[in-house]
Amino acid sequence: MIRLLSLLLLVVAPAAFAATAEDHYQSARKALTARNYPVALDAFEAALNMEPDNIRYASEYRQAVIGAAQYDRCIAFFEKLVAVHPMASSAFLNFGFAYVDKIPAAGSITQVILANTALTYFSKSIEIKPSWIALYTRGNSYLYWPKIFGRASLGVSDLEKAYQMQKMDRVKRSYHVRVYISLGDGYWKTDDIDKARAIWQEGLAQFPDNEQLKARLAREGDALAEYIDSVLDPNKRVDTNLQEIWTNL
């Protein structure tokens, strides 16, 4: 009887004590607090391997990668992850973000290559699931391209779709303000200043404390151009932390 019990325990115990994705995630956070990046990254990756579409794990993983400047590791990880999970739209989105995260650390030509590659994976994410976040992300990314490439209109198209989506949403979410800002920037970049100001105004009515909208509306002409150019400067790190998304779902 004792022997049988022991055998049962041997069989059951590994299952009972196997770490969950959440366990790995918590380990990662703990390691991050201790600034132990190697352990944190390993743990985040373990969590994502179990839940490849978890936007929170992926976002926090990428923020840790930025802290550790391990951009290539992150890209390589997501490359494998999406190969194993080809329908994980969020994984593709974060794969794209992994390229965006590397941009400020790259030279000007590599920046273009990274940005272009990011767009490929944002598109794949939209193809799998045309979510608000994916449309907003790709639309906003297009705006960083210089006018000469004519990509701002593509950005406007994505952002208009995201705008329609959030209008259908019965809940006003804090991150919706991003579309008002970016869509206005898109209109501005496509030389439709009236529409730009209108959407910024509409956004400000919805989010009256938003400083970015106020800053745009307070400027005109060259001052506005200088401001938007500064915002869309590829040498500045784009905030790709998606915390606002999951905390306002």
């Binding site: 030279g107 030509i109 590599t110 590659t117 210089p146 000469i148 490439f149």
Partner: protein, 580 residues
Amino acid sequence: MKTFSLMAVGIGLAGVGLATLAAPNGERWFEDITQKADLSAPHTNRSFKNPYAHIMAGYTALGASVAVGDYDGDGYEDLFVTDSKEDGKNRLYRNNGNLTFTDVAAQAGVADGNDAQNASADALWFDADNDGMLDLLVVRFGHNQLFRNIGKGRFKNVTASSGLTRYANAIAAVAFDHDKDGDTDLFIGSYFQPVNIFQPETPRFFPESFETANNGGGVTVFRNDGNFKFTDITQQTGIDLKGWTLDLGHADADNDGDEDLYVAADFGTDRFFVNDGKGVFTDHTETAIGIDTKKGMNVEWQDYDNDGLFDIYVTNITDDYMREGNFLWHNNGDLTFTDISRETGTHNTGWGWCGKFFDYDNDGWLDLYVMNGWVSGNEQSYVPDIFEMIVRPGIDFADARNWPPMGAKSLSGYQKKRLFHNERGQMFKDEAARHGLDSMRDGRGIGVADFDHDGRLDLFVTNANAAPFFYRNLLPLDHHWASFILEGKISNRLAVGTRLLITAGDRTYHRYVNGGNGFASQSSYRVHIGLATHPTIDRLEVIWPTGTRQTFENLTADRIYRLVEGSAHPVPFVVKEEKK
């Protein structure tokens, strides 16, 4: 009267100044007198005749250069200006002394700088044999030319016996005494690797990367052995570079009495080398400036903030599609530098080329003039074409066949030149439009000198595939100035590397004699100093390359002085012949 004294120059100038104050130019202090000066012959880019010619055309809009120097010793600064087309003649403009020039290149024997196998890219006056007469190096894609000044306005081509015969796609040269043996050595920067770009045997001669290319021409160091003989000592100097060099600049970065070196590279990392005092250099790039991936075009050293340390200005590419930004490397005094271009407003000058510090208003603060613009073609942009190539997976950039032809399209063209006024070493304010210096031609080099001895620095500007500009400085004469012609006796004759500490009032200025810094250009060997409202230099300390120090006191301003190493007194400057 065959000669006239410095005093006469000063008196003559007072009249000019009064006339200027009443001139209709108002606040505009520069006048374009290119036509009047007879300096309007245009530069033409080289066209190639090989299977890659249509591609190369987009990347070889180079070779419009100028070198300033008094080759005939008459006291007036002359100009050597390069062309690049196959049958294009280089020009030696003799200064007639009245702000007109005469091209005497053919008579002098220096006109033939271009042919089917060679294209002129830059030029450098230097005194190879310390005889007091300027010799000439014509820097070429192909084989460089060395001309010995044999006096009476004539030159002899001594290249064949000089040791400078090796093929190189050279684009920049500076001459300074790196080993302190009393003569100036040659540092030559090359762009393409040493393949014959006129008839390339392989298509793989383009940059292998846009950011870390290591298949360019690098830098070659030639020691001056005297008697117009030079020996390649690159290996011994510790300089081992294979980048796409566009410019070189030297200065004593740490005021330790020897010349250090900055190398600007296209498609990759600029390099900073520290001299050990014996002519051996150590690469301090990582600690001094860090590793960059930009497109370095220009090296200019000067003490822009009058803190006693030489700073560096490097241009890169800044445009809508590529926001590299320039470098204004502030010298921290410990062989490290901090880029403060953003903070000072000198960050964005478009597709930059030569940038030169000079004090155009004689206020004692060095201002900055910057060339820019790559190719001003038609209304279509080449940017999408090039980026289509860049994002192609697995592309071999080194293969010229992969690069899209530019045709008649534009790439960073029609850019306005920038004239930055130095706001007391803190900021720079663009005054180009105000002074009529905001041309949109594709600018390359800048030669700065006081061509008419009026105490105001004038500008000669070269443009690729276009006519140059000659700008006369018409600053109202309410600021004082002084100018120094230095002559080494134990040190090299042109006194390259000599530092001057000039005290007027409560300010001390640190200046030096450089051996040809700045992309596609060489300015005067003379040291000009703006003194603002001070009519006297209280103290002048001269530190010769030998380490010898000389001090002079109470020098009257608004004069040109000749300083001879070891001589107790400055010698008044005298022109040989009145040319009016």
